[in-house]
Amino acid sequence: MVPFAGYEMPIQYTGEHGGIVAEHEWTRQSASLFDVSHMGQLSVAGASEESAEAAAQGATALEDLLPGLITSLKTGRMRYSMLLDENGGILDDLMVTNAGPRINLVVNGATKWDDIAHLREYLPDEITLHHYDDFALLALQGPKAGEVLEHLIPGTGALTFMTADLFKWGEGHIWVSRCGYTGEDGFEITVHREAVTGLADALIADDRVRPAGLGARDSLRLEAGLPLYGHDITTETDPVSAELTFALSKKRREAGGYMGHGPVMEVFNGGAKQRRVGLTLEGRMPAREGAEVFAGDTKVGTVTSGGFSPTLGYPIAMAYVDAAHAEEGTALEIAVRKKRLTAKVSPMPFVPHRYYRGS
């Protein structure tokens, strides 16, 4: 157990199925249950008594702080976005869902208090910001997650990637989103803290499901090419350099009207000085966060996360490198201790995503 974002969380589980690699592999072949209750679960809504109107008011207000199109999100649809500061730096990345009467946000655990302060400071007073601190969040991830959850909670299997809905569970309800942070099909489930143990036990009772910790969560998301806030994206990085331009909707790039728009568009139009790239390494020695990247004798970048890929059997990394060296296939070197490791700029995801987009 380690302290993480104010919570005590397991790096890995013990027992015959425990360990980062075993948990990682089980997630890729069956299904794993992650307790991600440290994440911040928030909602934003306007004052209207008519529920769709309240959500629309919340969406409009949020668009002042996010570069994505939120007002066009239909009920039950979700989108990846970012909170930006005035310089276009990334304050956090988050999931935004039109939940019907409100807009739901799931933000990072380590940044949730800053996010709440930021949102409360800049959202108009008539917009309600709620923190669901009495709700847990479980992530069920893996190719068998769909059949497992459908068996336990009929109807959930009909959700497709990046959609969400409310379901009955026991005496109450749970909010189920088909999304995740592993590159696999799966769900994130919002459940009241008094019901979470029962739900977790019911999921683990299924032989196809085993628990997994923070270690596997990190190695899985790295293989999936998904950035980790505080490491691969920070206030020192912008969405363009971070290769997250898919989250800058075209309409909003042109119309603007959100915090950080000007600086972000300067990078968008002028080109990023550095770009977040994937690196695959020769040999078995991993390069970790902070390792310097070289082209010949010239330092051209820095690794922001890296490790050994259990799926691929060799080390992979994310790094920011000068734009001139960011093209796929570029040969680079990474300095690790006294050695120079041979690396190549490689497309991400390193391991293909396997999201469920409908049968």
């Binding site: 790096i11 890995q12 360990g19 980062i20 690699v21 075993a22 990682h24 270690g215 990190d218 190695s219 040999g283 078995r284 020695m285 991993p286 970790r288 490790g307 050994f308 259990p310 080390p315 201790r337 050695k339």
Partner: protein, 123 residues
């Protein structure tokens, strides 16, 4: 053949003027799945307590220190292809390197098996 232990969780077997060094079962369990071991080159002069090797697990890189001073005479070539030997057989097949014993007196400050066991139980 006497086996000694350090408080950094290395073990060292001494036979005449040669010693074999590895990490303990407790250490491998703490490190988790080991994916790479960086061994010192043959001929490297090691100082007691100084950096000798690096173990890379999925989660992090960890230093392994020289239990005594001496010169590296051999690295365990099996670890190159199968670093997981350190997990499965840390105190036998998963040894790290062999070295000369520069000064036998340096062994005196190390723990024997019973003392190490007690040390680990106290952690």
């Amino acid at each position: 053949m006497p086996r000694y232990f350090t408080d950094e969780h290395e073990w060292i077997d001494v036979e005449d003027d040669t010693a074999t060094v590895g990490i303990t079962d407790y250490a491998q369990e703490q490190l988790g799945d080991i994916v790479f071991v960086e061994l010192p080159a043959v001929g490297t002069a090691l100082d007691k307590g100084g950096d000798a090797a690096v173990v890379e697990s999925v989660k992090a890189a960890s230093d392994v220190y020289a239990p005594i001073s001496g010169e590296v005479t051999e690295g365990n070539a099996m670890l190159e292809d199968e670093p997981a030997l350190v997990n499965s057989s840390p105190e036998e097949d998963g040894w790290f390197f062999r070295m000369s014993v520069a000064d036998k007196a340096e062994l005196e400050g190390l723990m024997d098996e019973a003392a190490y066991k007690e040390f680990v139980e106290g952690l």
